[in-house]
């Protein structure tokens, strides 16, 4: 990197030296592209986090000088990895985050996008690094029960806040696409195509469940903004407060029951529920109270089964990417999901 506007760039921990230099170099070019008057661009404390199954997550301190003076920001760079669990578009995510800036939903402020990887070598987003830390198991961790229950309610309130985002007013219909058929069928169609694309061998269990999902897909009561992977592990918490909902790459317009089906999914109980205090029934009651919606148990069960099936497809993606030499974690066919899916189907029938 020889651009005269660049003053310094310090590789830190995380990733190979070549990758670190590539990220620093690309980021400086992106900043200069976005702010042509920027000079003395400094990028410090670049660090790749251990988390992030579908993308590289890098944090850093960035500062530069432009016509308005000196600027300093803590930033988070999310860069598509060579192998990924999710085949998603950064442009959609960028537009969702921009829309959320004008809503009550706690989400990172997004600064820039490199949609085709022209600067960073892979599609990337740069956003503000929000305060707080991430804890997948916060609802069943060491915090006192009242605190965990309050957080559980806050998570549900956050889910509802996402559902009341005025997606039409924010222009999200154009960027995300409005489901033409029932949202259940639209989502199933998308994930079925993914399934057919990524599987390496026959999976009669997943075909059997897919046929059931196709036969019983429900209609939606409304079309809302759906996060698509709503879980404590995709949020930052500081003290007793949720400071940001993260990972919007699977956000789309769909059925209000989709995110609710994800958090009441029995296979993810340990992440989303508190035994004896915040279980499926209590979540449904609290959701109904917050939204005024009456939940159809059969429809919600459909979304529970769909959640498991979608999770299975994501894991098969990881299997395929690992075998192709693009993904560095070993996954297997998710046979542990088969029994709960079949049991829920049997109960629903």
């Amino acid at each position: 990197m020889t651009h005269p506007a660049i003053a310094s760039g310090t590789p830190a921990d995380g990733g190979s030296d070549a990758l670190v230099l590539k990220v620093l170099d690309g980021l400086k070019k992106l900043i200069f592209h976005e702010i042509p008057s920027a000079r003395d661009i400094s990028l410090e404390r670049l660090s790749r986090s251990a988390g992030g199954l579908s993308r590289e997550n890098w944090s850093l301190d960035a500062s530069w000088t432009d016509a308005n003076g000196r600027h300093a920001h803590r930033l988070m760079l999310m860069r598509d990895a060579a192998g990924t669990l999710l085949n998603t578009e950064r442009k959609r995510e960028f537009e969702v985050l921009k829309a959320l800036e004008r809503s009550a939903v706690a989400a990172p402020v997004v600064h820039w996008i490199d949609p085709d990887g022209r600067f960073l070598g892979a599609p990337s987003l740069v956003m503000a690094l929000m305060p707080g830390s991430c804890d997948y198991m916060v609802l069943n961790g060491s915090r006192p029960l009242p605190e965990r229950l309050a957080l559980a309610h806050d998570f549900l309130q956050l889910l509802v806040s996402i559902q009341v985002v005025d997606w039409r007013g924010q222009g999200l219909g154009e960027s995300l696409g409005v489901p033409e058929d029932s949202p259940a069928k639209t989502e199933l169609g998308y994930w079925e195509a993914e399934y057919r694309r990524v599987r390496l061998e026959p999976h009669p269990e997943l075909d059997y469940v897919l046929a059931w999902l196709g036969r019983t897909a429900p209609q939606a009561e409304a079309i809302v903004l759906v996060h698509g992977d709503f879980k404590p592990g995709n949020a930052l918490i500081e003290g007793k407060n949720i400071t940001a909902k993260l990972d919007w790459e699977t956000a789309h317009l769909g059925d209000p029951l989709e995110d609710l089906g994800w958090i009441t999914n029995p296979v993810r109980k340990r992440e989303h529920q508190i035994p004896g205090h915040w279980e499926r029934q209590q979540i449904i009651e609290a959701y109904s109270k917050l939204t005024g919606r009456k939940i159809c148990e059969a429809d919600l069960t459909w979304w529970n089964v769909f959640s498991c099936w979608k999770l299975a497809v994501i894991q098969l993606t990881a299997v395929g990417e690992f075998v192709a030499g693009r993904y560095n974690r070993v996954f297997h066919t998710p046979s542990w999901l088969f029994r709960p899916m079949l049991q829920m189907m049997e109960r629903a029938e």
Binding site: D13, G14, G15, R48, S49, A50, G51, G52, N57, S59, M76, L129, S133, C134, D135, Y136, E201, P202, H203, P204, E205, D207, Y208, L210, A211, G233, N234, L236, L246, Q315, N328, R329, V330, F331, H332, T333, P334, S335, W336, F338, R339, L342, M345, E346
Partner: protein, 154 residues
């Protein structure tokens, strides 16, 4: 043959855990290493069960296919007949067992989507699938970031 495959895998895990892992300071690389070690440990236990599982599964899948025949279209039934007529691969021939398993599971994937299945057939399919899932020897082993786990996402 000593060290046996199992002994070699055990030894590899031990060395990776006690010698290599403590020297890996980078959180991302450490998470990857932990996942690889956990998978090697799983494989060490699973490997001796794979051949037996394939023999069980080929037999159970063929029986399941036969139980569904009345509800299947004639073209699929003919393919099942063909698979039945083929001789069983040698029990010691892993790749041939694997290939037969693939073929039978492909037939089953088509059979379980038949619209003519009766409730009893569906019940037997579900039992077969639950039984099979409980016997599959290879499984994903979840691992958490071992360094700075509270802020792993960041």
């Amino acid at each position: 043959m000593r060290p046996t495959v199992e002994e070699q895998l055990h030894g590899t895990c031990r060395i990776l855990e006690s010698v290599v892992a403590p020297c890996v300071a980078d959180p991302f690389a450490r998470t990857i290493l932990d996942n690889l070690i956990a998978n090697l440990r799983m494989m060490t236990a699973a490997l001796p069960k794979v051949a037996g599982f394939l023999r069980y599964d080929n037999d159970a899948t063929l029986r399941q296919l036969l139980a569904l025949r009345e509800a299947l279209p004639s073209e699929l039934d003919a393919r099942i007949n063909q698979a039945m007529a083929a001789s069983e691969p040698d029990v010691a021939d892993g790749p041939a067992q694997e290939e037969r398993n693939q073929l039978l599971r492909e037939l089953l994937a088509a059979a379980v989507c038949s619209p003519a299945l009766t409730p009893d057939m569906r019940h037997s399919i579900q039992n077969y699938m639950v039984n099979r899932a409980s016997r599959v020897p290879m499984r994903y082993v979840p691992t958490v970031a071992s360094v700075n786990s509270s802020t792993a996402k960041r």
